[in-house]
Amino acid sequence: MALEPSDEALVARVARKDVAAFATLYDRYARRVYAWSAHTLGSEEAEDVVQEAFLRLWDKAGQFDAKRGRFGSWFMAIARHQIVRQLRRRGTDQRVIAADEIERVLADASAHGRDLEAEVWAHEGAAAVRRAVTSLPQEQRRVIVLAYFAGLTQSAIAKVTGAPLGTVKKRTRLALQKLRERLADAQGSGWTETG
């Protein structure tokens, strides 16, 4: 069985304008960008964001440096930039409503998380992080979702949640620590649990 090329090998080919490599990276990452955009910006705008993020990948692939980090981190930072840029045109209230929905979807994994196709498709790390997010205390999950998915600053989160800024920072750090540990466990142990 032939090994699947790594993301890093594919992005190097994209830098040489290899459409087949570009298509493979699209298949690996488009769904993540789309789901995030659809929850925060709506389905129609999500399609534009996906297209814009991937065209930026097409244009900027030569700038990716594997020594500085993983492709997935690099590309999702590009996608996040596109999404947050669109979100900034909307009011904080709309962003909070979108974040609330994401939080509900993540917490209620049992309702949607049995999608076999999704599980097969998903990187095992995503499944591990999903489980970790589900297990986070609600207030920690909320700050992560507001910060990452809705692009709110910690000061804005403090205002929205009514918690002191110091508390928001503490919750953020605790949540990050747990997510990181769960991800490291999953990657280190070759974790394949799906439920």
Binding site: V33, A35, W36, H39, E47, L55, R70, A118, A147, L176
Partner: protein
Amino acid sequence: MADEDMKEFEDAGVAEELAGALAIASPHRLPPELRGRVLRAAEARAGRSRVLALRRAWLRPVAAAAALVLVIGLVVWNVRLQQGLADERSLLQQLRDNAKESVIFEVIDSAGAQKVILRAAGPQRPGEDPPYGKLYTNANQTQAVIMGGRLPRPDANRVYHLYLTDRSGTTVDAGVLPVDASGFGYLIYETGIRGPSYTAARLYLQPADANAPGGTLVLAFEPR
């Protein structure tokens, strides 16, 4: 989230997996037709890049040729500028060396001085620098000063004769311009009016007793 937290979040790979986690749990499904649209857009960009690369390849020699022409033009312009400057210095220096009348310097070197260039009018001999001249007037003086350089030595029966035309169209005989062995000469013409102004100046090579324009036109400043 603070910037350093976000960086740590992304470096640890948590960020991308968090987005993956949402994709697993989300009811939103990626529209299948979007894939073709994105790939076509990328291919279109690739096509544009190729066209641009071809254009750039074609433009490169043209740009290089244009740059070369520009450099040559600048060099020629600079040489002419230097030559003009040298001419100016040469004429003034010769005037200082030769002129005895202080009125010359009151006309050409004091406030209110104006000058026009007289250019060679006839066909030039190949390889020879053409003759040239300058006409000075001054708003505070009544004299006009005319200088000429590189003027060919006139034959025995002819002299350089200067004629000036004022705004009313009247042409006057300003006199004979004597020339030394180097081809340099100057003439002071008393106009009788303060701040004279002329629309044309012509230097003819003609018989010594002539008193009207005619003969060989050597230098001219013509109205535009």
